[in-house]
């Protein structure tokens, strides 16, 4: 995902001199290509995330479109109040690009995990929250971000993700994507759980259940219409995310269901409000935290 991101950015920067990249000393083996081609529009501000956000906002207030790149906890939480005021309140054209969605940094430990980021970013007025599920979604959403007004948070996994969509998929900021139709169950995934969602749908199919798979690469604004359509079909709705139970995709979908005032069978698969003290890969931690347990 991060390679796709930087390639999209380089392509755009060739024709749009407003594109700027700021990093608080992250991006080794990722950002070099951008730095080499656009040295005047690349700035490593040092290990100083608060300043990174303020500088980015100052550039944006001067007409630039600024991408701030780091590991998720550092580009969202370390500098949260700068994000709140300098980006959200002032509605500046800054894009936070965080890598390491959920448990992607597995054995690095919980300091590098990102399980609260969707919740806190979603709570900010003016902030758009994009959590692409594969490189195709990354490409589409990044390409649309160049014309977007206001701040965006991009939650990327890391690298080497499988492409789920083909190039013809219609992907828009703020819109759900129906990956597969199904009449018995609706599974909604966001971010790096799309691939696992696809596996589950195949497994259900072997059991004779036709599950719809919906990828939700924008958690805010959530695609209310798409969720309402699922509610009206009166089939069980399941959300799947590598994020805390509180405040993420499941919460966003639950809010739509609650507002709709219609009873529907609903289940959230998410992290059960705990930090991981286990050591292991993303896949192992998913397993230990119950994220790979498919509801029957």
């Amino acid at each position: 995902m991060r390679t796709t991101f930087v390639n999209c950015l380089i392509d755009r920067a060739k024709i749009d001199n407003r594109i700027f990249v700021i990093t608080p000393d992250m991006g080794f083996s990722v950002l070099e290509k951008f730095k080499e081609q656009f040295p005047q529009r690349f700035l490593n501000v040092g290990i100083a995330e608060q300043n990174a956000i303020g500088v980015a906002a100052g550039l944006a207030l001067s007409g630039k479109i600024v991408y701030v790149y780091s590991i998720i906890p550092f580009v969202t939480m370390r500098c949260f109040e700068q994000v709140r005021i300098d980006l959200a309140y002032m509605n500046t054209n800054v894009r936070l690009v965080g890598v390491g969605a959920g448990l992607a940094y597995g054995p690095a430990g919980a300091t590098h995990h990102a399980i609260e980021d969707i919740a806190i970013m979603r709570a900010l007025p003016n902030m758009t929250v994009c959590c692409p599920g594969d490189p195709v979604e990354v490409r589409a959403l990044i390409n649309q971000s160049f014309a977007h007004k206001g701040p965006i948070y991009f939650r990327l996994n890391k690298n080497g993700e499988t492409c789920i969509h083909d190039d013809s998929a219609r992907i828009e900021i703020g819109k759900a994507i129906t990956v597969k139709e199904g009449k018995d169950i609706a599974l909604i995934t966001t971010s790096n759980m799309l691939e696992q969602g696809l596996h589950w749908v195949k497994e259900w199919s072997l059991q004779g259940k036709q599950a719809a798979l919906i990828s939700m690469p924008t958690v805010k604004p959530i695609d209310t219409d798409a969720i309402l359509q699922l509610i009206n079909r009166n089939i069980p709705i399941i959300t799947l995310e590598e994020h805390n139970m509180i405040g993420g995709l499941g919460s966003a979908v639950a809010e739509v269901i609650a507002d709709a005032g219609k009873a529907v069978v609903f289940k959230r698969i998410a992290i059960q409000d705990v930090y991981s003290h286990l050591v292991g890969s993303q896949q192992l931690l998913r397993s230990k935290l119950g994220l790979d347990r498919r509801p029957i």
Binding site: G46, A48, Q50, N51, V55, A57, G58, L61, S62, M90
Partner: protein, 250 residues
Amino acid sequence: MTHRSKSSHVGSCLSICEILYCLYFKVMNIDPHDPHKIDRDKFILSKGHGSAALYATLAERGFFPKDKLEGFYMDHGTLPGHLDMQAVDGIEASAGSLGHGLSLGLGMAIANKCDSNPGRIFVLLGDGECNEGSVWEAVMLAATLRLQNLTAIVDMNGLQGFGRTCEVIDQTNMTERWAAFGWEVHEADGHDMGQLEKVFGFHQKGPKAIIAKTVKGKGVCFMEDRLEWHYKSPNDEQCESALRELDGKS
């Protein structure tokens, strides 16, 4: 304004009036009739609680009608207690939480340098505000980038939210601190127009800091150097007395 709205921070405002006047009437290249002109100088009030002083200066300079000042800090008002850049023309950045302004100004200075835009950036910080670590993140980067178009002014009134600055976090060597990080530092009496104009005019090869020695509540004897005037608003009698004194009639 603070009397009418019964709001805080009148002391913080009175310590920066001459600095604002000097910038908006003597130093900065600005046009109130074209507030967004691309090559303008920009000012950021990082100590956003001094908003009333900035609003009054902007109105006096012609950025908006003075009657808008009557809606400061009021129900259905025009001007919030802390800065909202959407409220009126002339406010370059919203502010109210300390330690943001220098980074914003730094970003603007980098943008201007990148675009060969001659506009200069001025950022006014409080001395208490310099407790914030983010200020020093920006100080370090600005010096590294040798930005000639950035000037920080530190309002050294010696008082902060809950005590004297030198007792809370000892910053009596403020000048040395900024210099140690690579800034060109000048000291001035923050209430002396001649001194201020002189230091603003010094040629700079890198970022410039002006350590402005000021008095909180300057010009009103019962407010000067008193912490309580960070919070209190003057009552009818105090307001009348203060205005008389500021008008030189007492």
